[in-house]
């Protein structure tokens, strides 16, 4: 699991590009095979992290509560999902998979593993 604190600070000085949180989310999501937006205090986020670890996947995690502009991202994610809770949210191969229910459903119906393999997050 990689916690991307460095890329946050790279955004801070250049405030002119920070107008579009959603754009930033998309950019972050495309940088790694598996991207999880989380909060350090969220237990469901902990569950989703455990799920990926259990599968042998190494996701990139962004803790929104540890980011100065996390609130903006949180709001953007809520709009994206149409849900009152922004986290956890999972992107695989730059594409939105969804919140916990979608992730589990896709794992059960067998579509998650191929997606992970395709994104290069799983080797078998």
């Amino acid at each position: 699991m990689q916690y991307q604190t460095e890329s946050w600070s790279s955004f801070l000085p250049t405030r002119s590009v920070d107008g579009d949180p959603l754009g930033r989310i998309e950019k972050l999501a495309s940088e790694n095979a598996v991207v999880v937006f989380s909060k350090s205090t969220c237990c469901m986020c902990h569950a989703i992290k455990r799920l990926f670890c259990g599968m042998g996947v190494n996701p990139t995690v962004y803790e929104l509560d540890e980011d100065p502009r996390g609130k903006d991202l949180e709001r953007a994610l809520m709009r994206l999902l149409g849900s009152s809770s922004a986290v956890p949210v999972v992107f695989v191969g730059g594409k939105l998979v969804g919140a916990m229910d979608r992730v589990m459903a896709s794992h059960i119906n067998g579509t998650l593993v191929p997606l992970l393999k395709e994104a290069g997050a799983l080797w078998l």
Binding site: C43, H46, A47, I48, G54, D101, I108, N109, G110
Partner: protein, 447 residues
């Protein structure tokens, strides 16, 4: 209702005390003595016995008897008087086999019954003389009576020293009357037996109702429960809905069984299988709604049987366990299906593990909040604890989601016939588990 001799004594004592006429003492007593052995007369079903009424009647009777002078007149008056003593009791105790009109039959038969009574009383008042003086006649009539009244001792007593002690041969009319009395007595006994049985079953039913009432009251179903301060209507509503769901489940399982035995075509089976899946979707939906008002009720499994509750996983069955159980029960699978089932079991296990760990972290976090009791992020510890508890709903939701997805995936992997068999196995399994739980709970054991 059988009136014991003690009851009679009590009543007449009360009556005499109230009236203050102790001179009545013997007369009601002899009346009582005359009546008491003839239990068939007294033991009638119907209106519950009212001592007050009897008391009053005895008092009046005592007054009336006091006015009689001759013993003979006392004796002849008494039969009619005894009838009047029970004004509210229906005079239905004699039903002639020929089914004559009620009033006519009654008067005739009550007359005959009363005659028997009076003759019995006569025998009491002059106990020894008829027997002693005419031993042969008495024994003859006795033998006849004994033969006739073979079944009941009451009848024996009644007819043992039957009237007309002067007659050696019983005339046809008397014989017919005796037969009628026997019949009436027999029917009376049957009615009494039926009534007692009815009372017994009512008693059991009452006990059950009281139990249900207590349970319902404990759950706050009744409005007497203080405005629902400590009880949740969401839980009770769900329990009711779950009860209905169980009835539906039984119906679905029977349908599956019948369909498989009848070897219905796949199209028909598909409809039934889809119906069963929808039936499970229904309970997950109901749980989601109920979780908003009482997540503890659901997640602790208070809605299930004890045996189910013991092996509960986040408010329901553990999907991987279900798959494991099914894999031994469903018919031979293709290699692809085996791979699919194994994959399903593995992925559900992984998901279960993840959710369990998430729940563990929630518990740890809650422990810290409750134990620490300090303000965190400017929040009151109670408010913080509330916020954490609200996550339980999410975990229950995800657990049910996992269960639902597992069932749907099973349908995709299996053929329709295999799926039908599979759901039959599931339905029967849980029915047996629930039955096991019931039997265990109600098993006889010491202490």
């Amino acid at each position: 209702m059988r009136i014991s001799f003690e009851d009679w004594q009590t009543v007449y004592c009360m009556a005499s005390h109230r009236v203050g006429e102790t001179s009545n003492h013997h007369n009601p007593y002899s009346v009582l003595q005359g009546i008491n052995p003839t239990t068939n007369f007294i033991n009638e079903e119907g209106s519950p016995f009212d001592f007050g009424e009897l008391e009053e009647a005895i008092v009046l009777q005592g007054v009336k008897i006091n006015n009689d002078e001759a013993k003979a007149s006392f004796l002849t008056a008494r039969p009619a008087a005894t009838l009047e003593m029970f004004p509210s009791w229906p005079l239905r105790f004699h039903q002639t086999p020929r089914g004559s009109s009620k009033s006519g039959g009654e008067s005739t038969d009550s007359g005959s019954a009363v005659n028997t009574l009076s003759s019995k009383a006569e025998a009491h008042l002059e106990p020894e003389s008829p027997m002693a003086s005419d031993g042969h006649g008495a024994s003859l009539s006795q033998n006849q009576a004994t033969q006739q009244a073979a079944k009941a001792t009451a009848e024996k007593r009644k007819f043992g020293a039957t009237g007309s002690t002067s007659d050696k041969v019983l005339d046809a009319k008397t014989l017919r009357r005796l037969a009628q009395n026997r019949e009436a007595a027999r029917k009376s006994r049957l009615r009494k037996k039926a009534y007692v049985q009815q009372l017994e079953s009512s008693r059991i039913k009452l006990a059950q109702l009281e139990q249900d009432l207590q349970r319902a009251r404990a759950q706050g179903l009744l409005l007497g429960g203080g405005g629902g301060a400590s009880v949740s209507s969401g839980a009770t509503i769900f329990d009711m809905e779950y009860g209905r769901w169980l009835d539906d489940d039984h119906r679905h399982v029977s349908e599956l069984r019948a369909a498989l035995q009848a070897h219905l075509p796949d199209g028909d089976l598909r409809v039934i299988v889809d119906g069963y899946v929808a039936h499970y979707d229904e309970i997950f939906r109901l749980k989601e709604v109920a979780a908003k008002s009482d997540v503890f009720h659901l997640i602790t499994g208070m809605w299930t049987t004890p045996a189910e509750r013991c092996f509960l996983w986040i408010g329901g069955f553990r999907p991987s366990e279900l798959i494991k159980m099914l894999s031994t029960q469903i018919e031979p699978l293709t290699e692809q299906q085996i791979v699919g089932i194994c994959g399903l079991q593995q992925s559900s296990q992984q998901a279960e593990e993840a959710l369990s760990q998430g729940l563990e972290q929630l518990q740890q976090s809650l422990v810290d909040t409750i134990a620490g009791g300090s303000f965190n992020d400017g929040m009151h510890p109670m408010a913080l604890a509330f916020a954490k508890l609200s996550n339980l709903e999410g975990f229950l939701r995800q657990a049910d989601n996992l269960r639902q997805q597992t069932l749907h995936q099973l349908c995709r992997i299996l053929t329709v016939r295999q799926a039908a068999r599979c759901f039959l196995v599931i339905g029967e399994y849980y029915a047996r588990l629930r039955a096991l739980s019931s039997f265990w709970v109600s098993r006889p054991h010491r202490g």
